[in-house]
Amino acid sequence: MKILYFAWMRQRIGLSSETVELPADVATVDGLIDWLIGRGEGYGAAFEKRDVIRAAVNQDYVPFDHPVADGDEIAFFPPVTGG
């Protein structure tokens, strides 16, 4: 599973992307966030405002109860500000 981080989430985690093996007990985006937060301080800071950040699975916006599977491309980022 490939995970991408953008903007200040990328800065706080210190990575723009990483490839991880999906833990057996993680089934949703929410579960994935819980697991990532356990990996270190940077993740905790990045996911601190959980109600603000947005998630995409395979390049589509998803709610946090959306399922995740190995092979998915998951992205986390702050609210967008294009245009």
């Binding site: 609210p79 967008v80 294009g82």
Partner: protein, 159 residues
């Protein structure tokens, strides 16, 4: 047509290409976004010396393509174009161009506004402004959410 690029663009050239050989077009509405030299930081305006636009390659093109298709479903457009730049830009630089051509001017205007409102709230871009107080990530504005909300309906793509 959509393009995501670092390079600048020439509005005149783009409009000419968009409307070439299409003599059913009554008009073209465009919006060009520019980098401003001041930005609100913690409620007070700060000078901005530069801006860096980050985006999500792949998802950007996918989402821009989807929303352009949606605009063409909603309005009778003869042609449409979205160009969005990324990378480092300076005050006065062009960021984005949206152009919609139609036999009907209201359709061209409405589709152009729809695309701009959507770009502000759903296209995966993030702006980092260089200010005297350091690099500041631009925050979403409530007025942008409100502007986007007026187009919401069941058939809308995405979230």
């Amino acid at each position: 047509m959509i393009r995501v690029q670092e390079d600048d663009f020439d509005i005149g050239v783009e409009i000419a290409a968009l409307t070439a050989e299409k003599t059913t077009i009554g008009g073209v509405a465009t919006f060009t976004g520019l980098v401003r030299d001041m930005a609100p930081v913690d409620g007070a305006d700060q000078p901005v010396s530069a801006m860096t636009l980050e985006h999500y390659p792949g998802m950007t093109e996918k989402k821009l393509g989807e929303i352009e298709a949606e605009a063409n479903r909603r309005w009778p457009l003869d042609a449409s174009l979205i160009i969005h730049r990324y990378g480092r830009l300076e005050p006065g630089d062009q960021i984005v161009l949206v152009a919609c051509a139609s036999a009907h001017r209201q359709a061209a205007f409405d589709a152009c506004q729809f695309l701009m409102d959507w770009l502000k709230t759903d296209a995966p871009f993030w702006k980092l402004e260089d200010t005297d107080a350091g690099g500041v990530w631009v925050e979403t504005r409530a007025t942008d959410d409100a502007a986007a909300a007026r187009w919401k309906r069941e058939s809308e793509p995405g979230e």
